[in-house]
Symmetry: C2
Subunit: 256 residues, 2 copies
DNA sequence: CCGGTTTATCGTCATGTCGACGATAAAGAG
DNA sequence: CTCTTTATCGTCGACATGACGATAAACCGG
């Protein structure tokens, strides 16, 4: 039995006459286009990814990355933002959203030719309350356990792995790590982000020198907090810098 | 008049009954999926991009990036390699091919919803003879003149710009610049690649120190050539290294 | 109130890389 | 043979980095 999308290809051929705009060739294969999201946050001292439980076949009751089909007239990033809002109850757009890659292996979806554009999103914990759908249908999962057993639907384990690698590489040479932080944060909290994303330990003194020495990375507020214990730490806000130059290189990963 | 792909959406709904694999929701919009290629090479002391002249509407007789529609059962990278072979007469696959990004603005193609996955390809000059189609239908164009006037079809000027930025960034921290070189080449020839891609001048002595000092970047052959004039230069071959660490940072661009 | 603990922040020092540039080597051109 | 061109090796100062000492400023338990 041909898949619905393939069978509809024949109807494509004669649906439209010529004209200045031209028409699509008759043998173009229609595909279904979806977006999937690797939404990462730092919660409970761990890097976690948002997963949803599938309610329908295929892969019913399996965990998957949040996503859905692109609607007519909708741009790709627009669809990603909409899915994010629908599946997480997110009011604000995520602090960072970028296209990751497109996955189009012919057999990646048993329903037919479905090509998905994956996006990487980073958000602070508090802005992602998962209040959208019922609690059982979506949850945060530590990345250390999410991809390994490959219990994920479709090729989502591979997409997650690519998203993680992108995030780990990107905080080296860009300032996106602050996307994990709330409005005001300390240097130590930012350092914890790096440590959890990289699974490695960083020297507090060298880290402090690096981030405070990079122009426009952090904006000091002049206020202090003791919420992390010890001597009061100054609070900072995200700066305008987008790139880190020189980069902050990650050490060889050692699991704690 | 609805576009052919949109009108075919209705036929999608009832084409397939249930089953373990599930079926696509009835309101999924079918899209046409294409691949487009930013194929770069260094020719005539310039960084050049391969363009093809469109023979059909829309944008008939305008220059465009080579590309075409993905066929059934074909993976994305597979389609890119096939299009490359068809439109350039290339026997070998390109020395470097990577996915660039996906472009899916709803109105990017007047014929309907066409989403394109762009690829970046780098190749040495001699391996790309453009013997495939007739000579008038495709040509090499210096990148300095290709994107500026934006005479390119569709959103190809933006795709080209993204591809150029990707190539310029990538040779900083990876070893892909050797993809522009033939089997055996001198350090000066590789340096010329960097200079032309970056539009800047590099110090021959520091460049030599950097590339010969990076492990597995270049493999010395022990043979020499004088084809560049002056003192004989040693010939090297591509090494196994894929990343450059630390990166070779590009200076601020100054046009010669 | 006081010493111990915790965390923040500042400094120091050796090392490595980089940019600028001098010096020498080895070919061809005239 | 000398001049020009290019290749390759060295040197030097500026700067970023990793390792780590030292001090500051809160808290806690007594």
């Amino acid at each position: 039995m041909p898949s619905p999308l393939e069978s509809s290809a024949a109807t494509t051929a004669h649906a439209n006459g010529g004209g200045a705009a031209g028409r699509l060739p008759p043998d173009v294969v229609p595909v279904a286009l979806s977006v999937d999201l690797v939404l990462l946050t730092v919660r409970e001292e761990q890097l976690q990814v948002l997963l949803v439980r599938r309610g329908i076949e295929p892969y019913r009751d399996r965990w998957a990355l949040p996503g859905g089909f692109v609607r007519p007239g909708e741009d790709l990033a627009e669809a990603a933002v909409r899915e994010l809002a629908e599946e997480t109850g997110l009011r604000h757009p995520p602090a960072h959203l970028e296209q990751l890659a497109t996955y189009g292996a012919p057999d990646r979806d048993p329903r037919g030719r479905v090509v998905t554009v994956a996006f990487l999103a980073l958000a602070p914990q508090s802005r992602t309350p998962i209040a959208g759908t019922d609690a059982a249908a979506s949850r945060w999962e530590p990345v250390s356990t999410a991809g390994g057993g490959s219990g994920l639907a479709f090729d989502h384990a591979a997409i997650l792995a690519d998203g993680l690698e992108r995030a780990r590489a990107k905080i080296e040479y860009s300032a996106v790590a602050t996307a994990f932080c709330e409005g005001e944060f300390t240097v130590a909290e930012l350092r914890r982000i790096y440590e959890l994303v990289w699974s490695s330990r960083l020297d507090p003194r060298n880290f402090h020198r690096k981030v405070t020495g990079t122009a426009d990375f952090l904006v000091p507020t002049g206020r202090f907090t003791t919420r992390d214990g010890g001597r009061p730490a100054e609070l900072y806000r995200r700066g305008d810098a987008t790139v880190l130059h020189p980069a902050m290189l990650r050490p060889v990963p050692r699991l704690p």
